[in-house]
């Protein structure tokens, strides 16, 4: 905490609660009044209008009610709520004024809300920011209804996750999802701005609510409950994932995005074995993914393939995985003697070699295999048996475009990869990997063949990436060298680290965020990557262990008792060690 912050808190003193409550009341009043004076915003931005932008400040203002009853962590929760309420309100007012053409278009309600949000923020910042003593997760009282209630909470959490995902995906960026709007209205469409503003507001609301829940300890309680019922959690998660296409009402674009997220997540889980468990920094991971994609593309029966064969996909997925795994062994065998940074450099080089080679195997500068920069395109739709993945379906009164078929295929692949990861991480092999990550020398002295196990992790990660790659080739229908750049490797790595190293939910959340946010920020055009980078820096600053860390890593970063061994180290330990 900065000195300025603490002197501000001293100045505001005990008035902070009153100020925050007053601001919150004003914000509530403002948020039920109309915000816009023109009809460009659906319903003039009354409460009936876009969700995140209006409901957000209202919900976050209601959090201030916590101040009336002192719950542990409530002050910090209100601080977070007031900050995000102000951000959302300010952003929305800016978007209304900007797309309307001036401040005149902003209605009185918005000004009341903005003033309220500012007062709320000033009050919130005056609250005591100290972290309450950590307590074990609370559980439901011991009653006959506790078990069904816990099941309901567990299943409900996956339903909420599905709803959030569906809603976030549903707020479409006009540049992508509604090409007609862009064509008709010209370069800047009002809809584009309202939609993008709405998505940002929704995102901020999500972060704000997550912070409030974390600071009140609700998330810890919930995760303790879901851990008690893993089967219910898994079943509910599977149902939610399977049900997703039914929520989209025939929207093929959304399903394609979801399928791509799934492929990305499967690759991230595979990379998590290499980085999260075995602790090997692999910066060229996308190359193995690319190997799988090219294998699938070449034997798909595409007319642009240089190998005019067609192998059924059931075999191709194993073939792609095996070839990628072979490359993993070829690369890993000589390089895994290297440690840390050196390995990172070699894998970085391999990633580039793969891309450049694929670029040059066009028959001119090298043997004809990959069609060079054009890649292998027009990959035909998958068929497994007599079932064609290119067919649309109509089921239970819902249109299921052909993308749904690919989505479900990818869910199956993802489940297989996740199962492999979870089972491995809790096994003799997984323990050996973690041991190597923790202390390679001690691991060797404990009887672990470190070279072999590192190679195993590396090859297994490559194999899973290859399998994911074969699916990806059929989802995007083309395999080009440009899809496998260093940026993609970096994004996968970022997904693993951001989500939380060594956990499956972490990799899933990380992959979803990293895929969705650049997709949704397209309206920022060139600024997109800048904003993206800022987001990554902020997450790493405030949550270095990742969004959903393993309990292990959480303690690694937030363990206050970690100094015990350092203090009791005896003097005179300078003797040489290997």
């Amino acid at each position: 905490m900065t000195a300025a912050g603490s002197s501000y808190r001293r100045a505001v003193g005990s008035q902070a609660r009153v100020v925050a409550l007053a601001g919150a009341v004003l914000l509530v009043v403002g948020s039920v009044l109309p915000w816009a004076r023109f009809s460009g915003f659906p319903g003039k931005m009354t409460l009936a209008g876009p969700g995140g932008a209006r409901i957000g400040p209202l919900l976050l203002a209601l959090v201030a009610a916590l101040l009336l009853r002192q719950v542990p962590g409530s002050a910090r929760a209100v601080r977070a709520a007031s900050t995000f309420a102000f951000l959302i309100t300010g952003l929305t007012v800016f978007f209304i004024g900007y797309s309307g053409g001036g401040a005149d278009y902003v209605n009185a309600g918005a000004w009341v809300a903005l003033a309220g949000a500012l007062v709320y923020l000033l009050g919130g910042l005056g609250l005591d920011p100290s972290r309450p003593a950590s307590s074990p997760p609370r559980s439901l009282p011991d009653a006959p209804w506790a078990l069904p209630a816990e099941w309901l909470l567990t299943a409900g959490s996956t339903a909420v996750a599905l709803y959030v995902f569906v809603h976030g995906l549903g707020i479409q960026s006009a540049n992508v999802g509604r090409p007609n709007d862009v064509v008709i209205r010209g370069a800047i469409s009002i809809n584009a701005l309202t939609n993008d503003g709405e998505f940002l507001a929704f995102l901020l609301l999500l972060i704000g609510l997550a912070l409030v829940a974390t600071r009140l300890g609700l998330l810890a309680d919930l995760s303790a409950i879901t851990k008690k019922h893993p089967t219910v959690f898994l079943a509910a998660g599977m149902i939610a994932a399977t049900a997703f296409p039914f929520t989209q009402n025939g929207n093929g674009y959304a399903l394609r995005i979801a399928a791509s997220i799934g492929v990305f997540a499967a690759a991230a889980v595979g990379l998590n074995i290499v980085v999260g468990l075995a602790g090997l920094l692999d910066l060229g991971y996308i190359a193995f993914f690319g190997v799988g994609a090219y294998v699938a593309a070449l034997v798909s029966g595409s007319v642009t393939s240089t190998i005019h064969t067609h192998i059924p996909f059931v075999f191709v997925i194993f073939l792609g995985a095996a070839v990628a795994g072979l490359f993993g062994i070829l690369l890993g065998a000589p390089t895994l003697r290297l440690r840390g940074d050196y390995l990172a450099i070699v894998t970085l080089g391999f990633g580039e070699i793969f891309r450049i080679t694929a670029n040059n195997l066009d028959g001119n500068s090298g043997p004809s295999l990959t069609n060079g920069p054009n890649g292998v395109s027009n990959i035909p739709d998958l068929t497994i048996g007599s079932f064609s993945f290119g067919d649309n379906h109509h089921f239970l009164g819902v249109d299921l475009p052909f993308q749904a078929n690919y989505y479900w295929l990818e869910i199956v692949v993802l489940v297989v990869v996740m199962t492999a990861f979870l089972r491995l991480s809790e096994s003799r092999i997984g323990r050996a990997w973690v041991a190597i990550r923790e202390d390679e020398l001690a691991a060797a002295a404990t009887g672990i063949n470190t070279t072999r196990l590192k190679l195993l992790a590396f090859a297994l990660g490559a194999t899973l990436a290859g399998a994911a790659g074969t699916v990806d080739a059929h989802v995007v229908k083309v395999a080009t060298p440009d899809s496998f750049t260093f940026l993609e490797s970096a994004l996968l790595l970022a997904a693993v680290i951001l989500g939380g190293m060594g956990t499956v939910p972490g990799a899933l959340v990380g992959a979803t965020i990293l895929y969705l946010i650049p997709e949704k920020l397209r309206f920022l055009q060139d600024l997109r990557l800048l904003v993206f980078g800022v987001v990554l820096v902020l997450i790493m600053r405030f949550r270095p262990e990742g969004l959903i860390p393993s309990s292990r890593r959480k303690r690694e970063f937030h363990d206050d008792s970690g100094g015990a061994d350092a203090l009791s180290m005896p003097p005179g330990h300078g003797e040489h060690m290997a």
Binding site: L424, R428, R431, A435, L441, A442, T446, R553, E575, A578
Partner: protein
């Protein structure tokens, strides 16, 4: 029969000879002490025995056969060790640390781990049972689920011993097992080494606490500047003038308070 037979082990780092022509025989069930001033080459000698360093010359036989050149194979053959500056897997629980020690005595591979057949479950259950037994054996039965790094210093040393024992060694090398311990912990460590000896495991230990060494060891070897100065019973070593001059100091000084 001798458990360990190291003959003329020499280790040179460039111009420096850290270990010079050291021979040591350890018989079954023996506890042998290795003492000497800092920098005498004791740890380097241990490293040569466990494959962390390759000896420049000399041979090491374990139960009559040549030891392989890699740390993991040596551990598999039956020589386990602990480290002077504790090297636990800090972010694993105490139980997991010991279960890692079971690695060489178990077989489950990737397919077994993913497939999880009955044999996998049996092996995993046995590993956990053995690990819990060992934790109880070293007196850490209650802290199995704590992270290794959050254990007190003395417990970390015990945990390292439990992890080494999990590899089912015939010879255990302890590098300063009582460093940094208070008198109570040192007494407990002595009892633990005796208990290990009672399991039929031979022990070689490097130690600076002379009361500990002379009270526990069957034989003591003295290393000075990389060379073995003397080997004999605790009484012989304690009374040897060269040892007193090189290491123990004049009798008027406090000989037991070294650290």
């Amino acid at each position: 029969m001798s458990v360990l037979e190291a003959t003329s082990v020499t280790k040179r780092f460039g111009g420096l000879t850290a270990v010079k022509d050291v021979s040591l025989v350890v018989n079954e069930g023996e506890v042998v002490g290795l003492i000497g001033p800092n920098g005498a080459g004791k740890t380097t000698f241990f490293n040569c025995l466990t494959g962390m360093e390759t000896p420049t010359a000399g041979s090491v036989l374990y139960k009559g056969s040549q030891l392989p050149g890699r740390p993991d194979l040596i551990t598999k053959a039956g020589v386990a060790r602990t480290f002077q500056n504790i090297r636990l897997f800090n972010n694993m629980t105490a139980l997991e640390n010991v279960m890692v020690g079971r690695h060489t005595r178990t077989k489950a591979g990737v397919l077994a781990a993913v497939g999880r057949g009955p044999r996998y479950h049996r092996e995993e259950r046995e590993s956990e049972e053995k690990a819990r037994e060992l934790l109880t054996f070293v007196g850490l039965g209650r802290v199995g689920d704590e992270l290794a790094k959050s254990l007190p210093y003395g417990d970390q040393r015990r945990l390292e011993i439990a992890r080494a024992l999990a590899t089912e060694p015939g010879l255990l090398l302890l590098d300063e097992p009582t460093a940094g311990m208070n008198p109570n912990e040192t007494a407990a460590a002595r009892d633990l080494v005796r208990a290990v000896q009672g399991k039929g495991i031979a022990v070689v230990l490097i130690e600076h606490d002379m009361r500990f060494v002379f009270g526990l060891c069957d034989r003591v070897a003295v290393l000075v500047q990389g060379e073995k100065l003397l080997e004999g019973s605790p009484a012989e070593v304690q009374s040897d003038e060269r040892v007193i001059a090189a290491y123990l100091g004049k009798p008027t000084e406090d000989t037991a308070g070294e650290s």
